[in-house]
Symmetry: C3
Subunit: 676 residues, 3 copies
């Protein structure tokens, strides 16, 4: 059991940057009091503290951190101790320019910002290893040391000569000989044949951008090199503190929704002990409903939960607003509790913030924090935070509780990369994340638990797998899905399916294995202009299609619906095929949400997917987690109005301790209930 596993509390806290306040001892003293008032039990310390820890090369100063660690231990606050490599001291850039990044335009960056380092640089790796080892040595036995917070939101890429060299070696290891690479890259096109690995340059706006397989390999290499850098970071920690778990904060992207796509989190997940992510939805915006945004947040939470198939941490969120959205709106009353419980509902075992105390200066001083510039425990935000802290204490039994999902929705990063890069169809945005989320939401709306899976996952445990818009499918994924259906699984796929392999080499028509599974063959894809529409009827109802309409022919499948317009009128728009013990649906066109809702309803019924004992109107979400202590139903009113829910039997509200009787019950706008 590592330190995290031994902790019985749900974590509540956030980034704590005392290194900004070392000249203000009264502030540091206030921090102690305010943390306790806010029911805080965990803080991430030292994320950008390299300058404070090693102000001059080789001269280390841990005095201030010793005191913080001791203080935290005294008030039973767990410290997620950060390695400080998210930004580095100015002296290092000055003395060792090789640590500075080079951008894709081949400009050497100046010192500044953060994550501005070369991941390949031997100097930077050495300096990183030294500071990390020093931290581990000093605090390995400190009672406050709870978890390692490695660097911060890894991202970005470097195109310097060291990285070019590393890329070439990575390619050489992958392809062995240049001919194999040329064949894979289809480099005869435009005479792009390489004679030698030394001729390869990373993609660049002033060089090569059109070799899609090279672009994909570059993204893979950036992931590889970042993870390799991360491994270098944790190597001294693993040695000195084997009992301390390691995490690094991943990111999600709104309005996507999709995980940050600069790194392959499915690969990265294997190297961390617990998944954590930073969640910043733009609540109360004017371009989508609160409920719609909540379903995006749920999608991302389910994605991160599924990465390791267990609860995860929210390592950053804001108690009020951020400062980097186009428009930065504060959470209205009730929203902080609601949005926090929205994460717990989908598997989070923590609510943590950036940051504990607002900075006085520099670029994020207007970002929301637990403690505002007024240093008060009396303002609206602080009280909202304290309420969530109390709620987490009441909910502590939920720690580790599972989300039993029988439905999987597949989001594949390499497909996302390839579609973003693909020249064809609609060039500005093919909306892959929008599509995956749209299918996801049909289940979320009905309180059906969903795993958002990556393609490395075992699918056999699911009753239904939904895999939209899989333009890129490698041979293994095709085989996996075929086997899954053959053995009894149910599969849904859509237009663009299996256009190309993992190197973006186009298949010579729909692969036979998929023809067998779906009983269809894709003939061509009609790409529609924004104002264009087609449609089909199903069960007496008309549905609209848009953007993409694949023209298909059946080779075994039943036609459930056919297009009602254009030259492919009366050809199949929706099919179903029995294959082995399972079956597979093919949806040939993009539709609105109404179709997906109606399409999945009978499937949900047929599969007997669990419906909770709480009936709720649209906008009120019910999600369940369970463990030995029972089933927890999160009932979350994402609307700006009162709503009536109906309980099948009396239940206890874990937040208030009150019993809600059977039958109808009114929930206030943004109200949160956790019922057992």
């Amino acid at each position: 059991m590592n330190k995290y596993e031994k902790e019985s509390r749900l974590l509540h806290g956030g980034d704590y940057n005392p290194d900004q306040w070392l000249k203000h001892p009264n502030i540091l003293a206030d921090d102690i009091t305010l943390m306790q008032k806010a029911h805080i039990n965990a803080v991430s310390v030292g994320i950008f503290a390299w300058s404070a820890l090693e102000p001059i090369e080789g001269q280390f100063n841990f005095t201030w951190l010793d005191k913080i660690m001791d203080d935290m231990a005294k008030i039973s606050v767990n410290v997620l101790l950060a390695t400080p490599t998210g930004a580095r001291p100015a002296w290092m850039s000055q003395k060792y320019p090789e640590v500075l990044r080079t951008n894709a335009r081949r400009e050497k960056m100046l010192h500044g910002g953060r994550h501005n380092h070369c991941f390949t640089s031997p100097v930077y790796r050495e300096k990183t290893a030294i500071i990390n080892e020093k931290l581990a040595e000093r605090y390995k036995d400190h009672p406050a040391l709870f978890m390692w917070h490695i660097s911060n939101e890894y991202n970005g890429e470097c195109h310097c000569p060291l990285c070019q060299q590393a890329f070439r070696i990575w390619l050489q290891n992958k392809y062995r000989d240049i001919t194999t690479l040329n064949d894979t890259y289809w480099s005869t096109f435009w005479s792009h044949t390489y004679n030698d690995f030394s001729q390869i340059e990373s993609p660049s706006p002033i060089g090569e951008t059109g070799i899609h397989a090279l672009n994909l390999d570059w993204r893979r290499f950036v992931s590889h090199q970042t993870i390799d850098f991360y491994k270098n970071e944790i190597s001294p920690l693993r040695k000195l503190t084997p009992h301390v778990p390691v995490t690094t904060n991943f990111m999600g992207r709104f309005p996507g929704p999709h995980p940050f796509d600069g790194l392959d989190y499915a690969k990265f997940a294997k190297e961390v002990d617990i998944i954590s992510w930073d969640s910043y939805p733009a609540w109360h915006n004017d371009y989508e409903t609160t409920e719609f945004l909540a379903s995006k947040l749920a999608f991302l939470n389910d994605y991160f939960r599924t990465l390791k198939d267990k609860p995860f941490l929210i390592l950053e969120s804001t108690p009020s607003l951020v400062n980097w959205h186009p428009i930065n709106r504060a959470k209205r009353p009730g929203m902080h509790m609601l949005s926090s419980m929205a994460c717990l509902a989908h598997g989070a075992d923590s609510i943590m913030y950036f940051q504990f105390r607002k900075s006085r200066g520099s670029s994020e001083k207007l970002h929301g924090a637990v403690v505002d510039h007024d240093n008060s425990a009396e303002n609206r935000v602080f009280k909202d935070v304290a309420d969530v802290g109390q709620a987490l204490e009441r909910l502590k039994n939920i720690k580790g509780a599972a989300t039993p999902a029988k439905v999987a929705v597949l989001f594949d990063l390499e497909n996302h990369w390839a579609l973003a890069d693909a020249q064809g169809f609609t060039n500005n945005d093919k909306k892959y994340p929008r599509d995956v989320h749209a299918h996801y939401k049909a289940f979320w709306d009905k309180s059906i638990a969903v795993d958002v899976v990556t393609k490395d996952k075992d699918l056999t445990k699911y009753q239904l797998v939904v895999a939209p818009m899989l333009y890129v499918m490698d041979a293994k994924l095709i085989a996996d899905l075929a086997a899954y259906v053959h053995q009894g699984g149910r599969l849904v796929s859509t237009y663009m399916m299996a256009t190309a392999d993992e190197n973006d080499l186009v298949y010579p028509g729909t692969p036979q294995a998929l023809r067998d599974v779906f009983g269809i063959n894709i003939l061509e894809t009609d790409t529609l202009y924004p104002s264009h529409r087609n449609g089909f009827a199903l069960g007496g109802k008309e549905y609209t299609t848009m953007d993409y309409c694949a023209v298909i022919e059946t080779c075994g499948a039943d036609v459930l619906a056919a297009y009602n317009q254009d030259f492919y009128k009366d050809t199949p728009a929706l099919t179903k095929n029995t294959h082995g013990k399972g079956c597979a649906w093919f949806l040939a066109a993009r539709t609105n949400a109404d179709f997906l809702t109606d399409f999945y309803a009978p499937i949900i019924a047929e599969l007997g997917l669990t419906i909770p004992p709480i009936t709720s109107p649209p906008g009120v979400s019910v999600q369940m987690r369970e463990n030995n202590s029972g089933k927890y139903f999160f009932v979350l009113n994402y609307t700006e109005e009162q709503q009536v829910i109906t309980l099948a039997h009396p239940m206890e509200d874990m937040l208030t301790g009150q019993t809600i009787p059977q039958g109808k019950s009114v929930m206030n706008p943004y109200e949160t209930r956790i019922l057992m």
Copy 2:
């Protein structure tokens, strides 16, 4: 007679890139069969094959090409053999960095993309000459060798030191002394006087952009240097294969419509044996009618036809869709035949495609082709192509048929350059091509043949010359037009006329010769905001004006219409002047199409411009070509509905062999008929 002249067939085929498939002999074998099924008789081979032909410096490999040439000869397919300079092998960039381009920002580009070479580089010219000579030596007597396809879509510019030097020499040759250049550039403005040619740099976003005459000279130099590079390319071919004609594929731009404007095609045309161009309209878009887009395509076809006053080749088009439009929509049934015949109707003697077979990988793998990834002759696109192939066989007598035009519309590239660069009026887009096309369309709508002329053309053969928006007019053009009218010609011009000379030096008022011709003097030009309107009445009908309203006074002209608003209310908006044996109209403002239609109708009637024996409703175009065998009437239904045409006498449909009786006849949506 050169090889092309000896060929009796209309060309049908396209870019054939077997070098992408050398490891797939079964594919190469299928190619032979599929070409025959598709009625293909011409292919462009080796366009990007330099790496395949010279994989290592000085080591040439023609084996594969020998086989292709032999195979093509066997099936009577003509080979347009390409010089491979559109892209070069990686080894060359690596060994001779001088061949790499430098962009306007003075960044040395990395190897990648295509057309990424310096046109000045002695190394690149030498390497080009060598490979071209090798090709000519090897295939000069090969029966398949039909035409030279020089490089590919020449474009772009290089700002490297070698090009700067060449530019300075070009300037020195033009101006002789720096004082003349200074005077021409009006360089006293902002103290821009040069002491010496060595101080001149090409225009740059990090340097000089505001000397319009320098910008114009730079564009002229880029044309000069590109053509000079081209001459270097063809020099060994001319020597070794005097009987083989030479072309290079020009480009057109939509939605423009205008020819690619990076090169002066009027100058380039003199150096090629036959004009060819690559045509990629976005059919079925949602921002213009099919008929309107067709009129743009017609405009471009007429431009390219007029360049050498004879039929030309469509060297690239797509049988279905492209992959680089914002939205890539496939041709609906009927459109491939319709859009192909739309080119023949305006003077094309070929329909060729990019490309014969879709690539499996790299950036254009989703671009339409004759043979899809499924390698099938059974899909919709292949069958459409084969139908066009058959049609071309039926129409072979049309080869070389002329388009007798009595109306010329002038499109002047230097004016286009100057207007795009001019600071004044509406700065974002002055819409010169839109205007030229608007005048053109008034004739096209009525089946009147039009030549789209460049200013080097002899105008005396036309009954009417339309020259809108000639902001730049050099002394020769002014004199030519004046003489043309004086000798009996009819001329129409508009606002902005003769604002500046060919160095963008403003004239001191409307030049006297033009005052004489038009009987007017331009006082000022009102530039309107988008929502502003003025107007005038003519023949009892009200017309709207917009964007530009010149305020003029007459000095001899009759006022046909006067403005109805603003401070220049009641001043002339449209005038007519008799000059010598001819007359000249001046349209002072931009109008909608309705006015142009009504304005030209009586002129057309008066001139007795030929009206075809087929009456058609709007959207059904009738265009004629003629030769010894007779007159061919292309009747093209560019609407999505059935339309009724009326024949003055029975005619034969060349595509079906059937006779269409006199009187009314129904045409289906997108239907094509070629009647004699």
Copy 3:
């Protein structure tokens, strides 16, 4: 008394660039005639004449300028002699590359454009001093020498190593030690601590952009260095021509409205003898009314007038149109008089133009000028100019007349900088100038004179100070405003007040001094999305709020209005507090103009702010200047319709000499009257 003070005429003229026409002596002769016809009495000569004055390094040519000076003296035209440093000869860039600018991306610029020099370069400063000294020596006793026109529209910045070094020294002088700088920059954030001044680089898109205090210091440094360069320029002039006043042309920005924000004009103003600016509103646009644009022009005129609290010069304007607006529309009849008098109405003592004669070539040849390419005195524009010249002669008594303002509106450049850079609230545009102008217009609409003050001004002379959106307030400004109110002043401020100090360090809550003054405390600020609204009622009328709604609590103030929606419903939206002998209003939210009009009406009444003896409808502005000779009322009809004004007593129209009787009187569209 300097030469300007001795001049009894209002200046009329403009930039005169004979160096463009030295090869056209007939044109130079025509200039003399045309100047006289246009009633011109002042010209700015030699602004970009360096190449003409020093064509080769060290070889000076004053012959042509001698003649121009003599010619001007002969016709009593004052010469504002320019130092020619706005652009430099090509030989200098070629021989001394250090004079070329380096942009923020660290790219060395090529020779070209203008203001492309490094302000730090010792070579450039030396060359500047030499040419300026030569000019002063030669013309110091010339009767035509009237004023020095230093360089032209100083702007831009250089990031070269010389400037980096100068910046570091400037920082060292400001902060003394690096620790103070680190504390001020809050550089512990993201580990940005500097060990040494040598590590500091100016802000860059390829380096640091997020340290707001560094960004502010960089802007201050650019101002400092530019002014320092200017001081170097004028040093020989001060020595040799102590009797000749010095100006440099400042700039205003539309649609802002705000002064050019690249330089701190409040600091710069102290170094010039008379303020002058270049005014280019886009008259007759289609996105705002003429009257609204006129109020922006008035705002800028009042800003420039207030800089030195005395009349100023319009040094550039256009008689017709410019060539660099997106759409360049000519002034309609009447507008040139109207827009010229609009400047006089607010304190201008000149109307001057860019430029006297249109250039034949280069980038500004299509910019309006007194003399058009037709070289005629008969066209509309020339006659409009001559009319203004005549009007100025009739109005000469007005020279030096004051604008007695009792209301001040504060525009603080450093606040503007900080808000533009602030990460938070609405990130794309916080609209500070829009807000300051909105308050200003409430007074302008009622013919109340307003000073647009900078924060260095003594406020005690005002009855009312309006200071909206003061996100940045330094300690001195807080103290000044508090003292102002305490001593009896009236103050209005709004949301965002005193968020941060002058280094963008956030205050720990509303500063106590301001809590005392306003009797309120800001709790948080709600940033609204564009479609969101809140509102409040006052005096039985409903008003809408948008964009920003501060949530405040009172600590002494009276609540005048409360929000009517959202979670802060019923909390104060508008308060008033008595403090010492004065009082202070706090407007918590952004409103529409209707509220500001209604809000200020009773305050204007209470303060007895002067209302003119002319009643006018909306769109007809009445503004007053006064001196010993009396009060001049400028009555300006900014509408496109006839309007009726009412005179309290008969008055004389200074332009026509006619007496307008008491009572109603009709003004034509765009009509101008100056009544006494």
